[in-house]
Amino acid sequence: MNKHDFPILQQTKNGKPLVYLDSSATSQKPQVVIDALRHYYEHTNANIHRGVYELSERATKLYENTRENIKNFINAKKSSEIIFVRGATEAINLVADTYGRINIKENDEIIISTMEHHSNIVPWKLLCEKVGAKLRVISISDSGEMDLDQYQKLFSAHTKLVAIAHASNVLGTINPIKTMIKIAHEHNAKILIDGAQAFPHLSIDVQDLDCDFYVFSAHKAYGPTGVGVLYGKEELLEKMPPYQGGGSMIETVSFEKITYAKSPAKFEAGTPDIGGVIAFNAALNYLKNIGMQNIMQHEQDLLKDATQKLSEFPELKLIGTAKEKLGVISFVLKDIHPHDVGTILAHDNIAVRAGHHCAMPLMQRFNVPAMVRVSFGLYNDKTDIDALLVGLHNTQRLFA
Protein backbone atom coordinates (compact mmCIF):
# COMPACT_ATOMS: atom_id res chain seq x y z
CA MET A 1 0.00 0.00 0.00
CA ASN A 2 1.57 3.24 -1.15
CA LYS A 3 5.10 1.88 -0.76
CA HIS A 4 6.15 3.83 -3.83
CA ASP A 5 5.44 7.11 -2.03
CA PHE A 6 8.37 6.47 0.29
CA PRO A 7 11.76 7.06 -1.29
CA ILE A 8 13.71 5.24 1.42
CA LEU A 9 11.80 2.03 0.72
CA GLN A 10 13.14 2.03 -2.83
CA GLN A 11 16.69 1.47 -1.68
CA THR A 12 18.34 -1.94 -1.62
CA LYS A 13 21.31 -3.43 0.17
CA ASN A 14 23.21 -6.16 -1.68
CA GLY A 15 20.23 -6.34 -3.97
CA LYS A 16 17.79 -6.82 -1.11
CA PRO A 17 14.99 -4.30 -0.67
CA LEU A 18 14.59 -2.60 2.66
CA VAL A 19 12.00 -4.43 4.73
CA TYR A 20 11.19 -1.78 7.29
CA LEU A 21 9.36 -3.25 10.27
CA ASP A 22 10.22 -0.66 12.90
CA SER A 23 7.53 1.98 12.42
CA SER A 24 6.80 2.07 16.14
CA ALA A 25 10.26 3.53 16.64
CA THR A 26 9.86 6.02 13.84
CA SER A 27 7.95 6.03 10.58
CA GLN A 28 9.41 6.56 7.15
CA LYS A 29 8.40 9.76 5.33
CA PRO A 30 6.49 10.02 2.10
CA GLN A 31 7.97 12.18 -0.66
CA VAL A 32 5.30 14.85 -0.11
CA VAL A 33 6.57 15.45 3.42
CA ILE A 34 10.19 15.63 2.34
CA ASP A 35 9.22 17.99 -0.46
CA ALA A 36 7.23 20.21 1.90
CA LEU A 37 10.27 20.51 4.15
CA ARG A 38 12.50 21.39 1.26
CA HIS A 39 9.97 23.78 -0.19
CA TYR A 40 9.71 25.59 3.11
CA TYR A 41 13.45 26.19 3.31
CA GLU A 42 13.77 27.09 -0.35
CA HIS A 43 10.80 29.44 -0.55
CA THR A 44 9.29 30.49 2.75
CA ASN A 45 11.85 30.27 5.55
CA ALA A 46 11.43 33.08 8.09
CA ASN A 47 10.85 33.40 11.78
CA ILE A 48 7.17 33.50 12.66
CA HIS A 49 4.75 35.69 14.59
CA ARG A 50 6.73 38.91 14.56
CA GLY A 51 7.65 39.78 11.02
CA VAL A 52 5.80 42.33 8.91
CA TYR A 53 7.28 41.09 5.65
CA GLU A 54 5.71 38.55 3.39
CA LEU A 55 7.93 35.54 4.09
CA SER A 56 7.25 35.83 7.77
CA GLU A 57 3.53 36.22 7.21
CA ARG A 58 3.50 33.18 4.97
CA ALA A 59 5.54 31.10 7.39
CA THR A 60 3.27 32.12 10.25
CA LYS A 61 0.21 31.22 8.27
CA LEU A 62 1.57 27.80 7.29
CA TYR A 63 2.65 27.11 10.85
CA GLU A 64 -0.81 27.96 12.15
CA ASN A 65 -2.43 25.95 9.35
CA THR A 66 -0.84 22.83 10.78
CA ARG A 67 -2.30 23.67 14.16
CA GLU A 68 -5.73 24.11 12.61
CA ASN A 69 -5.39 20.87 10.69
CA ILE A 70 -4.44 18.95 13.84
CA LYS A 71 -7.35 20.49 15.65
CA ASN A 72 -9.66 19.09 12.98
CA PHE A 73 -7.79 15.80 12.77
CA ILE A 74 -8.34 14.95 16.43
CA ASN A 75 -11.54 16.99 16.73
CA ALA A 76 -10.36 19.40 19.39
CA LYS A 77 -12.69 22.26 20.21
CA LYS A 78 -10.22 25.04 19.52
CA SER A 79 -6.88 25.36 17.84
CA SER A 80 -5.56 27.05 20.98
CA GLU A 81 -5.79 23.61 22.58
CA ILE A 82 -3.03 22.37 20.26
CA ILE A 83 0.50 23.02 21.50
CA PHE A 84 3.62 22.24 19.51
CA VAL A 85 6.46 20.53 21.36
CA ARG A 86 9.39 18.32 20.37
CA GLY A 87 7.57 15.04 20.78
CA ALA A 88 5.36 12.93 23.02
CA THR A 89 8.11 12.88 25.63
CA GLU A 90 8.25 16.64 25.93
CA ALA A 91 4.46 16.88 25.97
CA ILE A 92 4.27 14.57 28.99
CA ASN A 93 7.06 16.46 30.73
CA LEU A 94 5.27 19.72 30.06
CA VAL A 95 2.10 18.46 31.72
CA ALA A 96 4.01 16.98 34.65
CA ASP A 97 5.91 20.20 35.19
CA THR A 98 3.02 22.65 34.83
CA TYR A 99 -0.28 20.95 35.56
CA GLY A 100 1.44 18.52 37.86
CA ARG A 101 3.49 20.95 39.90
CA ILE A 102 0.43 23.08 40.62
CA ASN A 103 -2.12 20.37 41.28
CA ILE A 104 -0.25 17.41 42.69
CA LYS A 105 0.84 17.63 46.28
CA GLU A 106 2.38 15.51 48.97
CA ASN A 107 0.66 12.15 49.39
CA ASP A 108 -1.34 12.57 46.21
CA GLU A 109 -1.33 9.66 43.82
CA ILE A 110 -0.75 9.22 40.11
CA ILE A 111 -1.90 6.08 38.32
CA ILE A 112 0.11 4.70 35.43
CA SER A 113 0.32 1.17 34.03
CA THR A 114 2.82 -1.63 33.74
CA MET A 115 2.91 -1.27 29.98
CA GLU A 116 4.00 2.37 29.83
CA HIS A 117 6.92 3.63 27.79
CA HIS A 118 9.67 5.22 29.91
CA SER A 119 8.41 8.56 28.62
CA ASN A 120 5.20 7.99 30.51
CA ILE A 121 6.94 6.73 33.66
CA VAL A 122 10.01 8.86 34.28
CA PRO A 123 8.33 12.31 34.19
CA TRP A 124 5.77 11.15 36.76
CA LYS A 125 8.41 9.54 38.91
CA LEU A 126 10.44 12.78 38.81
CA LEU A 127 7.32 14.73 39.75
CA CYS A 128 6.53 12.35 42.60
CA GLU A 129 10.03 12.77 43.96
CA LYS A 130 9.74 16.56 43.78
CA VAL A 131 6.38 16.89 45.50
CA GLY A 132 6.21 13.74 47.59
CA ALA A 133 3.42 12.06 45.63
CA LYS A 134 3.13 8.34 44.87
CA LEU A 135 2.86 6.19 41.77
CA ARG A 136 0.17 3.51 41.56
CA VAL A 137 0.50 0.93 38.83
CA ILE A 138 -2.22 -0.84 36.84
CA SER A 139 -1.46 -4.53 36.37
CA ILE A 140 -1.81 -6.25 33.06
CA SER A 141 -2.90 -9.73 32.16
CA ASP A 142 -0.71 -12.38 30.50
CA SER A 143 -2.23 -11.48 27.16
CA GLY A 144 -1.21 -7.86 27.74
CA GLU A 145 -4.49 -6.24 28.67
CA MET A 146 -5.20 -3.72 31.40
CA ASP A 147 -6.73 -5.16 34.54
CA LEU A 148 -9.74 -2.89 34.75
CA ASP A 149 -10.96 -4.25 38.07
CA GLN A 150 -7.68 -3.52 39.68
CA TYR A 151 -7.61 -0.13 37.95
CA GLN A 152 -10.90 0.76 39.67
CA LYS A 153 -9.48 -0.31 43.00
CA LEU A 154 -6.36 1.81 42.63
CA PHE A 155 -8.34 5.03 43.02
CA SER A 156 -8.38 6.72 46.36
CA ALA A 157 -9.29 10.16 47.59
CA HIS A 158 -5.67 11.07 46.82
CA THR A 159 -5.72 10.11 43.14
CA LYS A 160 -5.18 13.24 41.07
CA LEU A 161 -4.06 12.00 37.71
CA VAL A 162 -4.00 8.97 35.45
CA ALA A 163 -1.46 8.67 32.64
CA ILE A 164 -1.76 5.73 30.27
CA ALA A 165 -0.89 4.75 26.75
CA HIS A 166 -3.62 4.66 24.16
CA ALA A 167 -1.70 1.73 22.70
CA SER A 168 1.37 -0.11 23.88
CA ASN A 169 4.57 0.23 21.89
CA VAL A 170 5.56 -3.34 22.79
CA LEU A 171 2.39 -5.39 23.10
CA GLY A 172 0.38 -3.47 20.54
CA THR A 173 -2.58 -3.55 22.92
CA ILE A 174 -5.16 -0.86 22.20
CA ASN A 175 -6.41 0.06 25.63
CA PRO A 176 -10.08 0.73 26.40
CA ILE A 177 -9.28 4.35 27.05
CA LYS A 178 -12.78 5.68 26.69
CA THR A 179 -13.87 3.51 29.61
CA MET A 180 -10.72 4.30 31.53
CA ILE A 181 -11.22 8.03 31.00
CA LYS A 182 -14.78 7.76 32.27
CA ILE A 183 -13.61 5.90 35.35
CA ALA A 184 -10.91 8.48 36.03
CA HIS A 185 -13.44 11.28 35.81
CA GLU A 186 -15.84 9.47 38.10
CA HIS A 187 -13.07 9.63 40.65
CA ASN A 188 -12.42 13.29 39.93
CA ALA A 189 -9.01 12.55 38.49
CA LYS A 190 -7.65 14.06 35.30
CA ILE A 191 -6.26 11.77 32.65
CA LEU A 192 -3.47 12.04 30.11
CA ILE A 193 -3.42 9.71 27.13
CA ASP A 194 -0.06 8.88 25.57
CA GLY A 195 -1.04 8.56 21.94
CA ALA A 196 2.50 8.23 20.56
CA GLN A 197 1.68 4.79 19.13
CA ALA A 198 -2.02 5.19 18.52
CA PHE A 199 -2.15 8.49 16.65
CA PRO A 200 -0.58 7.28 13.39
CA HIS A 201 -2.86 4.26 13.18
CA LEU A 202 -6.28 5.10 14.61
CA SER A 203 -8.91 7.81 14.28
CA ILE A 204 -8.78 10.02 17.34
CA ASP A 205 -11.61 12.18 18.61
CA VAL A 206 -10.54 13.92 21.79
CA GLN A 207 -13.97 15.39 22.46
CA ASP A 208 -15.63 12.04 22.16
CA LEU A 209 -12.93 10.46 24.33
CA ASP A 210 -13.20 13.36 26.76
CA CYS A 211 -9.55 12.97 27.78
CA ASP A 212 -7.91 15.92 29.50
CA PHE A 213 -4.59 15.65 27.68
CA TYR A 214 -3.55 13.74 24.59
CA VAL A 215 0.03 13.64 23.31
CA PHE A 216 1.81 12.32 20.23
CA SER A 217 4.91 12.68 18.04
CA ALA A 218 4.97 13.71 14.39
CA HIS A 219 7.94 11.49 13.55
CA LYS A 220 5.92 8.34 14.24
CA ALA A 221 3.10 9.68 12.06
CA TYR A 222 4.99 10.11 8.77
CA GLY A 223 6.12 13.62 9.73
CA PRO A 224 9.60 14.94 10.49
CA THR A 225 11.52 14.58 13.74
CA GLY A 226 11.48 17.49 16.16
CA VAL A 227 7.72 17.98 16.32
CA GLY A 228 5.15 16.71 18.76
CA VAL A 229 1.75 17.76 19.95
CA LEU A 230 0.14 18.31 23.28
CA TYR A 231 -3.61 18.57 23.22
CA GLY A 232 -5.13 19.89 26.45
CA LYS A 233 -8.61 21.01 27.37
CA GLU A 234 -8.84 24.78 27.24
CA GLU A 235 -9.96 25.21 30.83
CA LEU A 236 -6.93 23.26 32.04
CA LEU A 237 -4.42 24.99 29.79
CA GLU A 238 -5.72 28.38 30.86
CA LYS A 239 -4.87 27.71 34.48
CA MET A 240 -1.51 26.10 33.90
CA PRO A 241 1.63 28.14 34.47
CA PRO A 242 4.01 28.46 31.52
CA TYR A 243 6.60 25.75 30.91
CA GLN A 244 9.73 27.24 29.36
CA GLY A 245 10.31 31.00 29.42
CA GLY A 246 11.43 33.06 26.45
CA GLY A 247 10.26 34.85 23.33
CA SER A 248 6.65 34.53 22.13
CA MET A 249 5.20 33.21 25.39
CA ILE A 250 5.07 36.61 27.03
CA GLU A 251 2.79 39.58 26.79
CA THR A 252 4.91 42.10 28.65
CA VAL A 253 8.32 41.83 30.25
CA SER A 254 9.93 44.08 32.77
CA PHE A 255 12.46 43.08 35.39
CA GLU A 256 9.75 43.51 38.01
CA LYS A 257 6.87 41.74 36.36
CA ILE A 258 6.13 39.47 33.46
CA THR A 259 2.71 38.75 32.06
CA TYR A 260 2.13 35.72 29.89
CA ALA A 261 0.40 35.16 26.61
CA LYS A 262 -2.55 32.79 26.36
CA SER A 263 -2.35 29.22 25.13
CA PRO A 264 -0.88 28.06 22.79
CA ALA A 265 1.73 30.84 22.78
CA LYS A 266 2.19 30.54 26.55
CA PHE A 267 3.64 27.06 26.07
CA GLU A 268 5.72 27.70 22.96
CA ALA A 269 8.72 29.68 24.16
CA GLY A 270 11.46 30.47 21.68
CA THR A 271 11.69 29.64 18.02
CA PRO A 272 9.89 26.35 17.43
CA ASP A 273 10.69 23.78 14.76
CA ILE A 274 8.93 25.89 12.15
CA GLY A 275 10.03 23.82 9.17
CA GLY A 276 9.07 20.58 10.89
CA VAL A 277 5.64 21.80 11.91
CA ILE A 278 4.91 23.03 8.41
CA ALA A 279 6.07 19.78 6.81
CA PHE A 280 3.97 17.80 9.29
CA ASN A 281 0.91 19.29 7.66
CA ALA A 282 1.82 17.44 4.48
CA ALA A 283 1.86 14.21 6.49
CA LEU A 284 -1.58 14.93 7.93
CA ASN A 285 -2.95 15.62 4.48
CA TYR A 286 -1.33 12.49 3.18
CA LEU A 287 -3.06 10.46 5.89
CA LYS A 288 -6.34 12.21 5.25
CA ASN A 289 -6.15 11.45 1.54
CA ILE A 290 -5.63 7.76 2.14
CA GLY A 291 -8.17 7.77 4.94
CA MET A 292 -7.57 6.54 8.48
CA GLN A 293 -10.23 3.86 8.01
CA ASN A 294 -8.31 2.41 5.08
CA ILE A 295 -5.06 2.57 6.97
CA MET A 296 -6.57 0.80 9.95
CA GLN A 297 -8.04 -1.91 7.76
CA HIS A 298 -4.78 -2.43 5.92
CA GLU A 299 -2.75 -2.69 9.09
CA GLN A 300 -5.24 -5.03 10.71
CA ASP A 301 -4.92 -7.31 7.70
CA LEU A 302 -1.18 -7.32 8.07
CA LEU A 303 -1.46 -7.96 11.79
CA LYS A 304 -3.72 -10.92 11.22
CA ASP A 305 -1.51 -12.43 8.55
CA ALA A 306 1.69 -11.94 10.52
CA THR A 307 0.22 -13.15 13.80
CA GLN A 308 -0.97 -16.31 12.18
CA LYS A 309 2.33 -17.04 10.46
CA LEU A 310 4.41 -16.22 13.49
CA SER A 311 2.29 -18.25 15.87
CA GLU A 312 2.95 -21.28 13.67
CA PHE A 313 6.65 -20.60 13.67
CA PRO A 314 8.64 -23.18 15.66
CA GLU A 315 10.05 -22.18 19.04
CA LEU A 316 8.67 -18.67 18.81
CA LYS A 317 6.67 -17.17 21.64
CA LEU A 318 4.40 -14.20 21.00
CA ILE A 319 4.17 -11.65 23.77
CA GLY A 320 1.06 -9.51 23.69
CA THR A 321 -2.04 -11.24 22.40
CA ALA A 322 -4.74 -8.76 23.36
CA LYS A 323 -7.99 -8.79 21.44
CA GLU A 324 -7.59 -5.21 20.26
CA LYS A 325 -4.17 -4.60 18.83
CA LEU A 326 -2.22 -2.26 16.59
CA GLY A 327 0.09 -3.74 13.98
CA VAL A 328 2.79 -4.39 16.58
CA ILE A 329 4.05 -7.90 17.37
CA SER A 330 6.67 -8.76 19.95
CA PHE A 331 8.17 -12.16 20.44
CA VAL A 332 11.15 -14.17 21.64
CA LEU A 333 12.81 -17.14 19.99
CA LYS A 334 13.89 -20.02 22.13
CA ASP A 335 17.62 -19.98 22.90
CA ILE A 336 18.35 -17.07 20.57
CA HIS A 337 18.69 -13.66 22.13
CA PRO A 338 16.60 -10.87 20.55
CA HIS A 339 19.73 -8.89 19.88
CA ASP A 340 21.14 -11.72 17.79
CA VAL A 341 17.84 -12.08 15.95
CA GLY A 342 17.90 -8.35 15.16
CA THR A 343 21.43 -8.48 13.83
CA ILE A 344 20.81 -11.49 11.66
CA LEU A 345 17.60 -10.05 10.22
CA ALA A 346 19.38 -6.75 9.63
CA HIS A 347 21.85 -8.63 7.51
CA ASP A 348 18.98 -9.48 5.16
CA ASN A 349 18.01 -5.77 5.19
CA ILE A 350 15.07 -6.47 7.49
CA ALA A 351 14.77 -3.76 10.14
CA VAL A 352 13.17 -4.89 13.39
CA ARG A 353 13.81 -3.66 16.89
CA ALA A 354 15.39 -5.79 19.63
CA GLY A 355 15.74 -4.70 23.21
CA HIS A 356 13.68 -3.42 26.08
CA HIS A 357 11.81 -0.91 23.91
CA CYS A 358 12.03 1.75 26.61
CA ALA A 359 9.69 -0.34 28.70
CA MET A 360 11.86 -2.07 31.30
CA PRO A 361 9.03 -2.66 33.78
CA LEU A 362 7.12 -4.48 31.05
CA MET A 363 10.16 -6.68 30.32
CA GLN A 364 10.16 -7.61 33.99
CA ARG A 365 6.45 -8.36 33.87
CA PHE A 366 7.08 -10.91 31.15
CA ASN A 367 10.32 -11.99 32.70
CA VAL A 368 12.51 -11.47 29.66
CA PRO A 369 15.52 -9.16 29.33
CA ALA A 370 14.48 -8.14 25.83
CA MET A 371 12.11 -8.91 22.97
CA VAL A 372 12.10 -8.72 19.19
CA ARG A 373 9.46 -6.29 17.92
CA VAL A 374 7.93 -6.08 14.48
CA SER A 375 5.73 -3.07 13.78
CA PHE A 376 3.86 -1.99 10.68
CA GLY A 377 3.33 1.26 8.91
CA LEU A 378 0.87 1.94 6.15
CA TYR A 379 3.59 1.16 3.58
CA ASN A 380 4.11 -2.45 4.64
CA ASP A 381 2.61 -5.35 2.75
CA LYS A 382 2.59 -9.11 2.90
CA THR A 383 5.89 -9.44 1.08
CA ASP A 384 7.45 -7.81 4.13
CA ILE A 385 5.95 -10.47 6.37
CA ASP A 386 7.19 -13.23 4.09
CA ALA A 387 10.67 -11.73 4.08
CA LEU A 388 10.57 -11.65 7.87
CA LEU A 389 9.70 -15.33 8.04
CA VAL A 390 12.51 -16.26 5.69
CA GLY A 391 14.83 -14.18 7.85
CA LEU A 392 13.69 -15.95 11.00
CA HIS A 393 14.31 -19.32 9.38
CA ASN A 394 17.80 -18.19 8.44
CA THR A 395 18.36 -17.11 12.01
CA GLN A 396 17.41 -20.49 13.37
CA ARG A 397 19.53 -22.22 10.78
CA LEU A 398 22.56 -20.18 11.74
CA PHE A 399 22.10 -21.10 15.37
CA ALA A 400 21.23 -24.72 14.76
Binding site: H49, R50, G51, V52, S56, E57, K61, I250, E251, T252, A261, K262, A265
Partner: protein
Protein backbone atom coordinates in the same frame (compact mmCIF):
# COMPACT_ATOMS: atom_id res chain seq x y z
CA UNK B 1 3.66 51.46 -4.71
CA UNK B 2 0.03 51.05 -5.69
CA UNK B 3 -1.36 48.92 -2.90
CA UNK B 4 0.95 50.74 -0.47
CA UNK B 5 -0.89 53.94 -1.29
CA UNK B 6 -4.04 51.93 -0.80
CA UNK B 7 -2.82 51.16 2.74
CA UNK B 8 -1.31 54.52 3.53
CA UNK B 9 -3.97 56.83 2.17
CA UNK B 10 -3.68 60.55 2.85
CA UNK B 11 -6.37 60.32 5.51
CA UNK B 12 -4.46 57.66 7.38
CA UNK B 13 -1.22 59.57 7.30
CA UNK B 14 -3.03 62.69 8.36
CA UNK B 15 -4.88 61.02 11.24
CA UNK B 16 -1.79 59.04 12.13
CA UNK B 17 0.21 62.17 12.51
CA UNK B 18 -2.52 64.40 13.96
CA UNK B 19 -4.90 62.09 15.77
CA UNK B 20 -8.26 63.60 16.69
CA UNK B 21 -9.73 63.20 20.16
CA UNK B 22 -6.27 62.57 21.51
CA UNK B 23 -5.76 63.17 25.22
CA UNK B 24 -7.35 62.61 28.58
CA UNK B 25 -11.02 62.89 29.34
CA UNK B 26 -11.60 64.32 32.82
CA UNK B 27 -15.18 63.21 33.29
CA UNK B 28 -14.80 59.79 31.74
CA UNK B 29 -16.92 56.96 33.10
CA UNK B 30 -14.66 54.25 31.69
CA UNK B 31 -10.96 53.81 31.04
CA UNK B 32 -9.39 50.84 29.30
CA UNK B 33 -5.85 49.97 28.25
CA UNK B 34 -5.09 48.07 25.09
CA UNK B 35 -1.82 46.50 24.11
CA UNK B 36 -0.30 44.87 21.06
CA UNK B 37 2.59 42.78 22.37
CA UNK B 38 3.87 42.00 18.89
CA UNK B 39 4.88 45.57 18.18
CA UNK B 40 4.69 47.17 21.60
CA UNK B 41 1.87 49.58 20.75
CA UNK B 42 -0.07 50.77 23.75
CA UNK B 43 -3.25 52.79 23.90
CA UNK B 44 -5.66 54.01 26.57
CA UNK B 45 -9.26 54.70 25.80
CA UNK B 46 -11.37 57.11 27.84
CA UNK B 47 -15.11 57.09 27.43
CA UNK B 48 -18.08 58.91 28.87
CA UNK B 49 -21.30 57.01 28.72
CA UNK B 50 -24.77 58.20 29.59
CA UNK B 51 -28.03 56.31 29.15
CA UNK B 52 -26.33 53.71 26.99
CA UNK B 53 -24.97 56.37 24.68
CA UNK B 54 -21.26 56.99 24.22
CA UNK B 55 -21.18 60.72 24.62
CA UNK B 56 -17.49 61.25 24.42
CA UNK B 57 -14.53 59.08 23.43
CA UNK B 58 -10.83 60.00 23.64
CA UNK B 59 -7.56 58.09 23.51
CA UNK B 60 -3.89 58.36 24.37
CA UNK B 61 -0.90 56.30 23.42
CA UNK B 62 1.66 55.74 20.73
CA UNK B 63 1.68 53.47 17.79
CA UNK B 64 2.02 53.09 14.09
CA UNK B 65 0.08 55.20 11.61
CA UNK B 66 -2.48 52.47 11.11
CA UNK B 67 -3.30 52.05 14.78
CA UNK B 68 -3.29 55.79 15.49
CA UNK B 69 -5.45 56.58 12.48
CA UNK B 70 -7.83 53.77 13.25
CA UNK B 71 -8.23 54.99 16.84
CA UNK B 72 -8.64 58.59 15.71
CA UNK B 73 -11.23 57.78 13.04
CA UNK B 74 -13.02 55.45 15.43
CA UNK B 75 -13.45 58.13 18.08
CA UNK B 76 -14.85 60.50 15.47
CA UNK B 77 -17.23 57.94 14.11
CA UNK B 78 -18.64 56.54 17.31
CA UNK B 79 -19.33 59.65 19.30
CA UNK B 80 -23.03 59.82 20.18
CA UNK B 81 -23.72 56.24 19.17
CA UNK B 82 -25.50 53.62 21.27
CA UNK B 83 -23.79 50.42 22.30
CA UNK B 84 -25.81 48.48 19.78
CA UNK B 85 -24.87 50.81 16.98
CA UNK B 86 -21.23 50.53 18.00
CA UNK B 87 -21.42 46.76 18.01
CA UNK B 88 -22.79 46.84 14.49
CA UNK B 89 -20.15 49.22 13.17
CA UNK B 90 -17.43 47.15 14.82
CA UNK B 91 -18.68 44.04 13.04
CA UNK B 92 -18.68 45.83 9.72
CA UNK B 93 -15.23 47.28 10.36
CA UNK B 94 -13.80 43.97 11.45
CA UNK B 95 -15.11 42.29 8.36
CA UNK B 96 -13.75 44.94 6.04
CA UNK B 97 -10.21 45.00 7.46
CA UNK B 98 -9.88 41.23 7.75
CA UNK B 99 -11.45 40.18 4.46
CA UNK B 100 -11.39 43.29 2.25
CA UNK B 101 -15.02 42.57 1.46
CA UNK B 102 -16.77 45.77 0.31
CA UNK B 103 -20.28 44.57 1.21
CA UNK B 104 -20.77 46.60 4.38
CA UNK B 105 -18.30 49.33 3.61
CA UNK B 106 -20.87 52.12 3.41
CA UNK B 107 -21.53 51.69 7.13
CA UNK B 108 -18.01 52.86 7.83
CA UNK B 109 -17.89 56.34 6.40
CA UNK B 110 -14.33 57.70 6.54
CA UNK B 111 -13.18 54.52 8.25
CA UNK B 112 -13.40 52.89 4.84
CA UNK B 113 -9.89 54.17 4.14
CA UNK B 114 -8.63 51.32 6.29
CA UNK B 115 -9.78 48.69 3.82
CA UNK B 116 -6.22 48.46 2.48
CA UNK B 117 -5.22 46.72 5.70
CA UNK B 118 -6.87 43.54 4.51
CA UNK B 119 -3.99 43.09 2.10
CA UNK B 120 -1.51 43.22 5.00
CA UNK B 121 -2.45 40.49 7.48
CA UNK B 122 0.35 41.47 9.85
CA UNK B 123 -1.27 44.88 10.25
CA UNK B 124 -4.83 43.85 11.02
CA UNK B 125 -4.01 43.88 14.71
CA UNK B 126 -2.81 47.47 14.43
CA UNK B 127 -6.09 48.51 12.85
CA UNK B 128 -8.22 46.73 15.42
CA UNK B 129 -6.36 47.51 18.65
CA UNK B 130 -8.49 50.54 19.57
CA UNK B 131 -11.63 48.64 18.64
CA UNK B 132 -10.86 45.61 20.77
CA UNK B 133 -10.11 47.98 23.60
CA UNK B 134 -13.46 49.66 23.13
CA UNK B 135 -15.32 46.39 22.89
CA UNK B 136 -13.79 45.37 26.19
CA UNK B 137 -15.40 48.42 27.81
CA UNK B 138 -18.70 47.61 26.20
CA UNK B 139 -18.50 43.98 27.26
CA UNK B 140 -17.30 45.18 30.68
CA UNK B 141 -14.24 42.98 30.70
CA UNK B 142 -11.57 43.45 33.32
CA UNK B 143 -7.84 43.82 32.74
CA UNK B 144 -5.68 45.07 29.91
CA UNK B 145 -6.78 44.07 26.45
CA UNK B 146 -4.16 42.41 24.32
CA UNK B 147 -4.40 41.73 20.61
CA UNK B 148 -2.99 38.30 21.40
CA UNK B 149 -5.84 37.31 23.69
Amino acid sequence: MNDLRELYQETIIDHGRHPRNFGELCDATHHQEGFNPLCGDKLTLHLREKNDIVEQLMFEGSGCAISMASASLMTEKLKGKTKNEIQEIFSAFHEVVTTGDQKNIEKLGKLAVLIGVAEFPARVKCATLAWHTLMAIIAEKAGIVSTEN
